[in-house]
Subunit: 352 residues, 2 copies
């Protein structure tokens, strides 16, 4: 899944160049890293990238080794349930017994060998065909920015990866609830990654989202054919926006969670990016040219320009294209508000 | 006097484009405004601009109506005593009985008619030939950024402008001393503007700075001739850096101060500039394109770019050429340190 609106990392990310197309953590776009880390587990011929139609060209450049027919452009964004139905329909058209790994293109995974082990184990469990497998992440702090998975009875271990029943999916909690979840030891962050057998997910859609199940059936029947693009536009034109968590996960009983101890990070904002940038002696996290006089704790991306900081603390400063963002580090969530403001004001088209 | 190093208004000001060449307060460079406000008092044929040799072209563009021979380029910066000696020597070569008004090119004067009245009055007093006249500014707050003039016995009024004896010139004081000065009612800010008859200033140099007096004599003798440029380089090559305040004013007894109530402001830093920029609804002083989400009290110059502020207060953000400065508003004095740091680091030549 490589969709997204490119709001949180503005001005570096834009509608035409959202987060997954940026080399935020490393020297390759996050999408390229997401594909490359599957090496040895899933051959490129079996990797589908589902992204926005307007991003197809950029996606192709980011993952040049992928067969052209594996890049799927959604005509409009319809959230993750539609993307999952679309991807699973195409996999099912190629192999009705296939196992689908729904993975995210805009996250960072620190320990790739462990990730591959976890993926192999999850595929083995999903291949039984009874359960949907999810990756849950052990919470590092009481985040209010993630959904949580309450885990129940342990099922066992496969290749050192521990599996447990998922009792329920819960949406982003408030601070007190998040603290309670973390203290209990029973809750994991919902990573947004799922592994299921085609038939298992189709059954879940049948029960909880029958309109999506019908769409998936029609898409599977047309996959690879000449009329697929037109059919996809028509189908997407009449379904609603809904996340797979809400449409399926929160309602399903047959979900199993694998504890994903592979250094996962969603890098959800500029301030979270600090961990992936080199530090200067004053704890400023810097990409590009930056000079400081008594400045500490800042996150700086200079683009091709120079950023000069004098006597400032805990700011995010990002220069890109024709715009410079200056944001309090604890206000990085509000960058979205800025993007929406600019959109409303008009005249900033070239910068969005 | 239109010299200066272009440090305090970096990155907008640079060595090649110092403060007086910038349209900081209004639509014209400060130098152009300084010349234009003399209209009706001093004809352009009698206005000399003394600036750095490397700035001659920019100065000529800023004040197109000035005769070419009235633009004097100093081969190196030697502070104000040398510039005063140079300018007075040239005036003296044209008219030994001339009155010289030493005015600054990088200040703002809010009430130009009153300034012209004060200038006419000061010229009348200086023309007697006995005293050096200075403009003192009634302190608006206990600034530690200006020198002060202690005033003594009142002499009288000319054209509504009050004159008093200057008892002494004092350098930039500490905060407590500045507060004492202001409370006393006897101290004025030293504006750096002086009016003297050629002979009167030459006498003062003779007494307090004889090397400068000899230089002025040689320059006056060569003024307008073919070898003047070479002579000027030789003379400047062997004199030291010293301000006219230190070389002459602090040592002279025959100084008279005119109270300059004409809205003078030296606009000494980015934070001082806020008063001359349009305000948005949150008290941000802005030049150019700037959008804000919960940001207040900032000073923003965007150049041709967009500045986007999210959740920040009391910052200076200036975008120019290839650099962006982000500075605490109370730290604007330290922009100089940044310029020096960049100079030391090398590689930033194009931005300085």
């Amino acid at each position: 899944m490589a969709g997204g609106k490119g709001e949180r990392f503005w001005p570096l990310s834009t509608e035409r160049r959202p987060k997954q197309m940026l080399a935020l953590a490393g020297d390759r776009p996050l999408l390229a890293a997401a594909v490359e880390r599957l090496r040895g587990v899933i051959p490129k011929s079996r990797i589908l990238v589902v992204t926005g139609a307007s991003l197809l060209r950029a996606a192709r450049q980011a993952v040049p080794g992928l067969p052209g027919e594996n890049l799927i452009g959604e005509p409009v964004g319809r959230d993750t349930a539609a993307a999952c139905a679309l991807g699973t329909a195409i996999v099912g058209s190629r192999d009705p017994e296939g196992v689908v790994c729904v993975l995210t293109a805009d996250h960072v995974i620190g320990d790739e060998p462990r990730f591959r082990d976890a993926l192999r184990a999850a595929v083995a469990v999903a291949d039984v065909g009874r359960d949907i497998v999810t990756f849950g992440i052990r919470p590092r702090f009481p985040s209010t920015g993630f959904g949580y998975i309450e885990t129940g009875r342990r099922i066992g271990s496969v290749r050192g990866v521990r599996f447990a029943r998922a009792l329920r999916f819960v949406e982003k909690p408030d601070t007190a609830t998040a603290a309670r979840y973390v203290a209990s030891g029973r809750y994991l962050w919902n990573s947004g990654m799922f592994i299921w057998k085609v038939g298992c997910f189709m059954d879940a859609l049948e029960r909880h989202a029958p309109a999506l199940r019908r769409m998936a059936g029609r898409l599977a029947a047309a996959a690879g054919g000449a009329g697929f693009g037109r059919l996809l536009r028509r189908e997407y034109g009449r379904i609603g926006r809904i996340s797979v968590d809400y449409a399926v996960m929160e309602k399903s009983a047959n979900i199993v969670t694998a504890a994903g101890d592979f250094g996962w990070d969603d890098v959800g904002s500029w301030s979270a990016l600090a961990a992936y940038l080199p530090r200067d002696g004053s704890g400023n996290a810097v990409s590009g040219r930056c000079e400081t006089v008594d400045a500490a704790g800042n996150v700086v991306l200079s683009g091709g320009r120079l950023t000069a900081l004098v006597g400032v603390r805990d700011l995010v400063v990002v220069q890109a294209a024709g715009a410079t963002l200056v944001c309090g580090k604890d206000r990085a969530e509000d960058v979205k508000k800025m993007v929406r403001l600019l959109r409303e004001k008009g005249g900033y088209g070239g910068l969005l």
